[in-house]
Symmetry: C2
């Protein structure tokens, strides 16, 4: 379960100034204005939008402590089904609130969400590398990692570059954190902190 | 790897009219206008936004045939790293184009994306129930399932209710499809088609 080359080399990708590099790579995308779908799209394609990524968790309290209390996601809605013995919790990132609201207004469904599925049983959901991670952009990557570390979360890939970090949820889901805007100046204890485990 | 109770009972959740039910469940969310973060958020919380879900794929051509040619996702950008022998492809849903563009303008990073990581090796990435699925809302769930079925994709959970279907990618990632707006009227061959396998 070691990280593959596509994981190891991510620093080179994400270390570039995000204000310039991705914009250049996405030039074809930005050449189309919003609300003006191409002729091909409107005629030939069934349109679709992303709604959520669903992850299963074994301990809902532990999962919510990680995602809500520590990472800062917000709970949008929850369904508790006592007959079928499961709970679904939908979470979104604070900066996505306007997108969530706009999506609700347009089609009655919220995006982009993480859906946590908690079945009230004792199944071990395992882990496999076919799932990679969820990625979030944060205002202050050092502040987020500091909060996580003080709460006992291992910073598997510390933000040595002031730009990128990886941690894992209680259910072993990898979470990538990326600094908003330019990378922060290198800062201890992160700058000299080695990697721990895999992610 | 059978589906758990939280999966089996999803029809009851998603079968309700999406224009009413989720709105009621999200009433607290909609009470805040966009661009007006709560005092608690601006003072105490590090804000963040969702960027992408990363999934690893063994055969990039097969994965792109499924996600782009059949499902209809669009490629936003790609990174080919010949030295470290990997390729990253970022995909988004057509209806998310305005959100993607707005995200790029605001912080230089695109959301919401699916990142496919293709390491040029022969590793088997396996599967595990800790990853659930990606969910997309589609304009015509019958048309999408018909296109997939004719291309040889198993419709694991056919849209018997005109509202929800599950399929799996070549790398065994489950994809949930949900009908935009109200469920479509029941229609053959879907109405009488049984489930196949798990998802």
């Amino acid at each position: 379960l070691a990280n593959g080359p596509g994981d190891r080399a991510r620093t080179a990708i994400e270390g570039r100034s995000p204000a310039r590099a991705p914009a250049a790579r996405c030039s074809f995308l930005l050449s189309q204005g919003p609300g003006t779908p191409s002729k091909q799209q409107s005629i030939q394609e069934t349109t679709m939008k992303f709604l959520h990524t669903m992850l299963r968790v074994r301990d809902l309290d532990a999962a919510l402590h990680f995602y809500v209390d520590l990472l800062g996601l917000k709970e949008a809605r929850r369904r508790v089904d006592e007959k079928n013995k499961y709970t679904l919790v939908f979470l979104y990132a604070p900066d996505d609130e306007a997108v969530v609201q706009d999506s609700m207004k347009k089609t009655g469904r919220d995006q982009p969400m993480v859906e946590l599925t908690y079945n009230w049983d004792t199944e071990d959901y395992g882990e496999a590398r076919y799932f990679g991670h969820l990625a979030y952009e944060v205002d202050d990557i050092y502040a987020v990692c500091d909060k996580l570390m003080k709460a006992g979360v291992t910073i598997n890939r510390p933000p040595r570059d002031g730009n990128m970090a990886f941690v894992r949820s209680p259910d072993k889901h990898s979470i990538e954190l990326l600094q908003k805007g330019k990378p922060l100046p290198p800062q201890e204890p992160w700058a000299s902190m080695p990697n721990t485990g895999h992610w």
